[in-house]
């Protein structure tokens, strides 16, 4: 299948500035973005559970170039959302997709292996992942170290593509029932507050969550850094960090495609996706809408209905 993907990319390459995919990183465990300019580059392409990063994040800054991008199902939704918001032009991007089998959460691998500083070898077959570090092989079930989002993945196949290679795969679930949120909400309000206070206290304000997000596109004009308006101060307290997360989540309302990059990029593993998922659920319940499925749709917060279907008029 990978060979077929490589062939397809090689065929399309002459028409393109370059194609983005994943290649082997500094060791066997860490796949890294690969920019393919020449057919030889395409031979370095890899595909599998280590293709974690969402390459769509690069697209808005590449406007004006004609580029190819290899996508997993979730990545393709980011591309669709970018198209929808006209942050990317359809005739400037060529999308290569295959069916995704799920990706790995490296934090979970680290919990099992210990130091994953330099991994010698990684093998995956039959739902198992074997990671060899310091001469020691560690075997684990893929499903135990899988990214949480893959457990409720509804779109393993690219929702939009110019070249789809291989067979489609059945989704993990039909509906996302937001079990993680329900579990969180089984706690009291006080417990929830304490949870965020603790988590936000650890935040470094490095903004990796923002920078990794394919749909956080204001970059240099982010309100988190602007002095006018001055939404968050330079203080290192919880208040400003929490406010920043609320800003990120609010700005993603109706746009977040649940790709999980924000959470993956966080160096201290703060579960920032939870907040975004609560917006996703609200948007889904109120407008029966999922972001990034239809490149022609209008995001619900940029529209209205005089008589809303699911918003009750206030009784008081």
């Amino acid at each position: 299948m990978l060979d077929q993907l490589k062939e397809t990319i090689k065929k399309a390459l002459p028409e393109l500035d370059f194609v983005m995919g994943w290649g082997m990183g500094f060791d066997a465990l860490h796949a890294t973005p690969l920019f393919m300019y020449e057919p030889e580059d395409v031979d370095k392409l890899v595909w599998g559970p280590l293709n974690i990063q969402n390459l769509a994040t690069y697209l808005p800054s590449l406007k004006g170039k004609k580029v190819g991008i290899v996508v997993k199902g979730c990545d393709s939704r980011s591309v669709a959302e970018l198209l929808q918001e006209k942050l990317v032009n359809r005739d400037e991007v060529v999308i290569f997709g295959m069916a995704c089998q799920g990706t790995v959460n490296l934090t979970k691998v680290r919990e099992i292996v210990g130091n994953t500083g330099l991994v010698e070898d990684v093998k995956y077959e039959n739902g198992k992942l074997t990671v060899t570090a310091d001469g020691q092989p560690h075997e684990m079930l893929l499903k135990d170290v899988r990214a949480d989002k893959c457990g409720y993945c509804r779109f393993p196949n690219a929702v939009i593509s110019d070249h789809f290679v291989g067979e489609e795969r059945a989704p993990q679930v039909e509906e996302d029932t937001f079990e993680d949120l329900k579990e969180f909400e089984s706690q009291s309000f006080e417990e929830r507050r304490d949870f965020w206070m603790k988590e936000m206290d650890r935040c470094l304000r490095c903004y990796a969550c923002r920078n990794a997000c394919p749909l956080c596109v204001c970059r240099d004009h982010c309100v988190a850094q602007s002095r006018d308006p001055h939404w968050v101060s330079q203080q290192d307290g919880i208040r400003d960090k929490f406010m920043f997360q609320i800003i990120h989540a609010t700005h993603m309302a109706g746009r977040c495609t649940n790709c999980g990059e924000c959470e993956r990029a966080c160096p201290v593993d703060i579960p920032v996706l939870l907040l975004k998922r609560s917006f996703n659920r609200a948007v889904k319940n109120t407008f029966a809408y999922d972001a990034g499925l239809d490149a022609g749709a209008t995001p619900p917060l940029l529209a209205f209905k005089v008589n809303e279907d699911n918003i009750k008029e206030k009784e008081w």
Binding site: L181, F184, E185, F189, E190, E191, R192, R193, D194, F195, W196, M197, K198, D201, W231, Q235, D236, G237, I238, R239, D240, F242, M243, I246, I247, A249, T250, A253, G254, L274, L275, S278, F279, R281, A282, V283, N285, T286, F287, P300, L301, A303, F304, K305, V306, E308, I311, E313, K314, W316
Partner: protein, 154 residues
Amino acid sequence: MPVLEGRELRIVGFLCNWCSYGGADTAGVARFEQPTDLRVIRVPCSGRIDPLFVAKAFMNGADGVLVSGCHPRDCHYAEGNFYARRRLEVFKNVISVLGIEPERFEYTWVSASEGQRWQEVVTKFTKQVHALGPMVSVPEVSLDRLAALEPAQS
């Protein structure tokens, strides 16, 4: 004389210039008795109200936030409140995940002539917030520093 006995809470009200601010004014002119916890911020239109205003108010220690605009179809700018309605509804849906009781935030519509209605809204909302009591404030400093500061304060 406050309608509610005891300590006042900090309630922030964002009112649109054309309807709800007028409605509150009407209530005042008619001398309708109202609780005095609400601090009003007048904005040009409910469409101007970014849900982040509400978040920021809570972060800075508000115990409750009330947003009020013109009734749907009555917006001075024709459709500002329709956009506001969607944003505020979504925001109301998510604040419980932040650890804020959803009853601490309401949005509603009051027209300039509805002094009576304003009195009801503000009284009901204030009661609702009082039932929950004050919000635990979000520390401006890190938890370590807060712990170090605390003995000095008591």
